[in-house]
């Protein structure tokens, strides 16, 4: 097993509903969906965010889209106009989750290395 950051295995999008942030995690390679499902348990995700998520973490499976959806309750400082957070609407909890490190087989780690990052030498 090799430890890799989720950013090379999946892309993600997040949004808000009240004080809850959601993060949808989508496997780059549909073949990795089961691996993500195994590693990204609600408990692990809750542990990853630590005190940033005050409430529970719920997980929903969307095998049809090769995706998992997480609800992070109590993550937005009260949400909406109440929140003092720069990211009051949870727009970048997505990349926050992609920082998480998980153990994957060495061949998977090799195949995905650098997948989620701008190629070297790229310029806008």
């Amino acid at each position: 097993m090799t430890r890799v950051a989720l950013v090379d295995l999946a892309h993600a999008r997040s949004g808000d509903k009240g004080d809850t942030a959601n993060v949808g995690v989508i496997a780059y390679d549909p073949a990795h969906y089961d691996l993500l499902r195994e590693r990204l348990t609600p408990e692990r995700v809750k542990e990853h965010f630590g005190p940033m998520v005050k409430g529970a973490v719920e997980r929903f499976e969307l095998p049809n889209l090769g995706a998992l959806n997480f609800l992070l309750h109590g993550a937005l400082g009260g949400g909406g106009t109440m929140s003092l957070m720069n990211d009051a609407q949870g727009k970048v909890f997505s990349t926050g989750l992609l920082r998480m490190e998980i153990d994957v087989p060495a061949d998977v780690a090799e195949a995905v290395a650098g997948r989620g990052r701008v190629p070297e030498g790229w310029s806008p």
Partner: protein, 453 residues
């Protein structure tokens, strides 16, 4: 039939709706302006000016596109009305006359979502409007409620279309209904056609955030998405059986792929098997996507079931005051200086006896997006912005906070700049109270009116 998306929120690309109208064939243009936060902003504006309270951008936009829409038979559906749909429709009629479409266009107005004037009557009749998150009854904050709007569905929009309205203005219609109401109207689906309406809901969810499904804010391979400067907004081409293709006009920028559409499907997603709307409960775990290539993704397989007996109500109530102040610290030891300034600021506020429910400190450029996941900042960080926010029921404390930022420039740690914007602004907090109400209590009051331009 084609429903084009022209705005994904109030503040979206002003040229996008024009590109949708001018860039190729469409039948309907849907413009979504509302979000949880938007309603409370509009409410504040209406409190200052009774004429305000709707998405004002919508009026000059329609003045630009009204003639082309009238010529090509493009009908527009929007929730730009916000908390003042009547004011919005009146301004729209004026805009139509200025645009030269008098006698050639009709404006549809949907009202009845606004529960503010009926609130006490509803509470007395036993509608407790409990907070969906905390279970508390609304009576605990009743005297602070500023607005209350039910999320309404397709029926009144379909009715306005049947009455011949060309531009339909609503208040708090759901974002998705702006897309699927015209689809129901065109294809003549029955109210119990759950699967097809659910498919329309998915089309609405994909459309409702504009370019967020066509390459905007898209994470997958974002660096190679072409020409976002002229990004094409989505268009759904919907067949009578409910299946549809997500696409965009030829010659526009951006990219539509299975992955870009999947990202948008997951946006603001709760339990995917239970996506509740006023018209159907859609099951997003049944969505099937086929990437057809050429910026076309086909959506099929969607299942739905009967809607619930309730509508969601979006309530805004005053909940104190807040302000956010910032200062910029430079290398060397930028983060250490910012943290030191924060400590000094807090000590001064304590000594002044100011009262806050929350004081939050973030370092922009280090931890304001990922919090503690960012770890400890290195000492050679080139710069960092101290960002301190305060929240209080006591306005005077927040006011005083706004006068405590600038003094830090001459009385705190060195190499600080970036305070030229002046004192932070005190903002009234409009807290959000989501509730449910029995649908007949709202639906009996919905009204549809058609006015000639």
């Amino acid at each position: 039939m084609r429903v084009a998306s022209g705005q994904g929120f109030w503040g979206d690309d002003l040229e996008a709706p024009v590109r949708q109208v001018e860039g190729g064939p469409i039948d309907y243009l849907m413009l979504d302006y509302l979000a949880e936060v938007t309603m409370s902003i509009m409410q504040k504006q209406r409190a200052r000016d009774p004429e305000a309270g709707y998405a004002r951008d919508f009026v000059p936009l329609m003045e630009r596109v009204f003639p082309a829409c009238a010529e090509r038979g493009i009908r527009v559906v929007t929730n730009a009305g916000g908390v003042n749909p009547v004011g919005c429709a009146e301004a729209l009629v004026e805009a139509g006359r200025r645009a030269g479409v008098a006698g050639r266009a009709k404006v549809g107005l949907v009202t009845g979502d606004d529960l503010m004037d009926r609130l006490d009557e509803l509470l007395e009749a036993g509608h407790a409007l409990e907070n969906m998150e905390t279970g508390e009854p609304l009576s605990t904050v009743r005297d602070r409620v500023q607005s209350a709007n039910a999320y309404i569905g397709a029926a009144p929009i379909v009715e306005a279309l049947s009455l011949g309205a060309d531009v339909i203005v609503t208040g708090r219609s759901t974002d998705t209904a702006l897309t699927y109401a015209p689809i129901i109207h065109e294809h003549g689906w029955a109210v119990d056609d759950h699967d097809r309406i659910a498919s329309g809901v998915v089309a609405g969810h994909i459309n409702e955030c504009g370019a967020q499904c066509t390459g905007g804010n898209c994470m997958i391979d974002w660096w190679e998405i072409p020409d976002l400067a002229t990004v094409g907004f989505p268009i759904v081409e919907v067949a009578a059986d409910g299946t549809f293709v997500v696409t965009k006009h030829d010659g526009t920028g951006g990219r539509i792929t299975r992955a870009s559409v999947t990202e948008q499907i997951l946006y603001e997603m709760g339990d995917p098997t239970t996506y509740i709307t006023p018209d159907v409960v859609a099951d997003f775990s049944t969505i099937e996507l086929d990437d057809l290539g050429g910026d076309r993704v086909r959506v099929h397989g969607v299942k739905g079931r009967a809607a619930t007996d309730f509508l969601k109500v979006s309530i805004a109530y005053s909940s104190g005051w807040k302000a956010v102040g910032t200062l910029m610290y430079s290398w060397p030891d930028a983060a250490a200086k910012a943290r030191s300034a924060d400590r000094i600021l807090r000590e001064r506020m304590d000594r002044l006896g100011l009262s806050f429910d929350e004081v939050r400190t973030e370092l922009v450029g280090w931890d304001s997006t990922h919090g503690m996941l960012a770890g400890d900042p290195p000492s050679d960080l080139p710069e960092v912005q101290l960002r301190v926010g305060v929240r209080s029921e006591d306005r005077a404390s927040v006011e005083r906070f706004t006068r405590e930022i600038a003094p830090l420039v001459l009385t705190g740690p060195p190499s600080v700049t970036g305070f030229a914007g002046g004192r932070p602004r005190v903002q009234e907090i409009m807290a959000y109270w989501p509730a449910l109400i029995r649908r007949e209590a709202v639906e009996s009051h919905l009204a549809v009116e058609v006015r000639e331009v």
